[in-house]
Amino acid sequence: MALDKCLALSDWAGFEARRAASERAGLRRGRGIACFIEQGGIFNERMELRFDPSGMVTIVAGTHSHGQGHATTYSQMVTEWLGVPFEAIRFIQGDTEKVPFGRGTYAARSSMLGGAALKNAADIVIEKGKAMAGFLLEAKGAGVEFAEGIFRVANTNRTMPLVDVAKAFYRKGGIPKEFGLGLEATGSYAADPPNFPNGCHSCEVEIDPQTGSIVVDRYTSVDDCGRVVNPMICRGQIHGGVAQGLGQAQREGMVYDRESGQLLSGSFMDYAMPRASDIPEIHGEFHEVPCKTNPLGIKGIGEAGTIAAPVAFMNAVADALDGLGVDSDALQMPATPEHIWAAIAAARPHAAA
């Protein structure tokens, strides 16, 4: 399915015409495809929800966002589950004086593990809230239901918003002792069983056989990261991941002097980070298949691009060089123009023979 979508989105069928056009310009065009699967999220994680007397709620995250947009994604979740306004949510992370414990962000784990732990905490808040709402609304043993931010005594019109129930936990008196003081909950979740983000990416390159220079002309991604909580953020994660993967495949490499062991690629003067003109416009779609091993249906997203891009790119390079006698199995990353030019030059006598 992801494969079919990727073929359609990348105009796979139109490749021969594009290749003929490249050939007329003296360039070799190749295409590559990568169907991948990874294991997303490892270990366990811990999240807290703390209300304060004003009805604001703070997410205390064990994960750490350094550009992945957790404050947005987690707040979306809390708004959805508890009906708390987006603006009434605060976010704390990364401060060891304020976050009792956390494992951080890596291995495409935060939305799934942090999110599921947060769901766990939200469920506890709802359970505590039901008891308090039952008292405040004088349910007298009747069941209390919760939906869309509102507690309701079953089969009645007696209701109270969660925010008001939360405030009641901070009253100076008049509340039975068993409710304690304050409303907060700690949730946790473990990646057992794990989840498996997957997808299909394709890449087209144009190689100038005279110089070995490579242009990535077309890049298409179809990703199954399970339920997409925030499409904009998930797309951003794919873009960044693909750029990382293309950088690794095309030019990024640690180079050491053979004699002295001195690192030669020790600054951005020498280490070839991709620039904007090295990365193509990425055409991406999601193929949402909700994950069955966690309550949110989420699979990881952070590393999909880095996994798919080098494979799709190197396959495209091998395809472009097909027929020149180049041993494509011997092509190494990073496939720099020098490397490609040398491979073509080395193959020339064989091709002529």
Partner: protein, 159 residues
């Protein structure tokens, strides 16, 4: 020590600085304008781009003394109060930043780019013009989209 006098974001600043003080050090350490970032310190990454007398420069590679007498514009100076500059708003709208480290330099570079091209930009030009600004998070795609959007808005205002 050298005496320098700069107008930064419209405000005159006079200070005695070590001769080797870089413009970015002056901005960040003396004036506490920490919106301008230092990424590589070798003119490669562009996180430190500011405008000096209307030109985009990498402030990690200019001495504060060299900028004496000049008018400097930093990321802090482009918006009026709490209102985002249209370019900042475009970065926000298009998710043109993730960690945000490169963003001040990207925006100062883009501001200069839009002005020089009179808002007439296409994706290829923007990508070429961003040669001196590195981003490790976004794959550049949404940065390019944000700049094109802001450029189009600039054009629309002129018509």
């Amino acid at each position: 020590m050298t005496s320098v006098q700069l107008t930064v974001n419209g405000k005159l600043s006079t200070a005695e600085v070590d001769d080797q003080t870089l413009l970015v050090e002056f901005l960040r350490d003396k004036l506490r304008l920490t919106g301008t970032h230092v990424g590589c310190d070798t003119s490669q990454c562009g996180a430190c781009v500011v405008h000096v007398d209307g030109l985009a420069v990498k402030s990690c590679t200019m001495l504060a003394a060299q900028a004496s007498g000049a008018s400097v514009l930093t990321i802090e100076g482009i918006s009026g109060g709490d209102e985002l500059h249209p370019l900042q708003a475009a970065f926000r709208k298009h998710h043109g930043l993730q960690c945000g480290y490169c963003t001040p330099g990207m925006i100062m570079c883009a501001l200069d780019m839009i002005r020089r091209h009179d808002g007439k930009l296409d994706a290829t030009t923007v990508r070429e013009e961003l040669e001196g600004n590195i981003c490790r998070c976004t794959g550049y795609q949404n940065i390019v989209a944000a700049i094109l959007d802001a450029a189009a808005a600039t054009r629309a205002l002129q018509v």
